[in-house]
């Protein structure tokens, strides 16, 4: 069968309706950063509800929102505010978002006035990053050859 004939037949058979996929795919790609976090949060809540044999309706009642709102969150497509995350964490007694703790210690060294516009020059900044397992605690030193990008910050 000639290829032109196939395309013509397909065009006749096809609906004039547009698929929403291309638009949805573009939206998912553009919002991938927060979307993935929203999905992880949704999964953690769903697993908690399952273990505790709690319904979405019960969670909704606990925090005073509609079951529809909880359902939207559990699909992993809501751009959640910090306030909503905190309310959910408090209601379920779980941590949904954890910020790695940084302890910054700075060592100052006195510089001669002629060499530096400022009285003190920071010579070393050490970030001590406390990571959960399996990474353990690690220390990232500014100025290390492998961490030049941190120094630029």
């Amino acid at each position: 069968m000639a290829i032109d004939s196939i395309y013509e037949k397909m065009a006749v058979l096809a609906s004039g309706e547009q698929s929403g996929w291309l638009k949805d795919a573009q939206w998912r790609e553009e919002n991938q950063g927060w979307l993935k976090r929203s999905q992880y949060i949704a999964l953690k809540i769903l697993r908690t509800l399952r273990v505790r044999k709690m319904s979405q309706k019960e969670l909704a009642a606990m925090i005073g929102v509609s079951p529809q709102q909880i359902n939207k969150i559990l699909k992993g497509r809501e751009n959640l505010t910090l306030e909503t995350i905190s309310i959910l964490e408090k209601a379920l007694g779980i941590v949904l978002v954890e910020i790695p703790e940084y302890i910054t210690s700075m060592a100052f060294e006195k510089q001669p006035a002629a060499e530096s516009a400022s009285k003190y020059n920071v010579t070393a900044i050490t970030f001590i990053k406390k990571c959960p397992e399996p990474y353990g605690s690690s220390s990232v030193k500014v100025g290390d050859s492998e961490n030049k990008n941190i120094m630029a910050a």
């Binding site: 395309y7 096809a14 795919a25 999905q39 992880y40 359902n71």
Partner: protein
Amino acid sequence: MRLIPIFPRNTPAIYSVHYPDQREDEMSRLFDEWSDIEYLESFFEQNKADLCGGYIGCPTVDEAVHRIIDDAVRLEKRLYDLAKKGQQDHNNTLQTLFSPLNNEIRLAEQQKSKAKIIAFKRSSWLRLYAIRIASNLYVITGGAIKLTHRMEERDHTQIELFKLDKKKTYLQENGLYSETDFQILET
């Protein structure tokens, strides 16, 4: 049953089937489903026993959901890139994405096909099923999360075979069948 153009003007051309009992066409429905955490968590809870059946160890439900999230993003990105750029990059074509459903090497017209992505040196569970009408003309008939070796082993994959056959008949009845090009494929 309607045929919805996904990117009909580009090369390759892809159409997706819209079944009367569904709100969206299959391509939209599947990627929507594969990014719906409530659906995925429930699916893997129901099919938990199949997670330990293969060569992939025994992932937990949480791990399985994370895996689908990542694989769906990759598969969608490949298709989106193809839709945007057409088939300019010869390393990223539908022919490299889809393979014959029966693992046959030959490329016969209107063969069933499956689209599967290889990520982290492991096989994906995600499947898009399509019928190749001509070298660059594909019709997506459905898709599934396939955890078992054979499609006949589970209802949700068995139904995809049924959909492929039904669509094949429909295309044949409308004169879109030729012995040399027709191919049934999967990702």
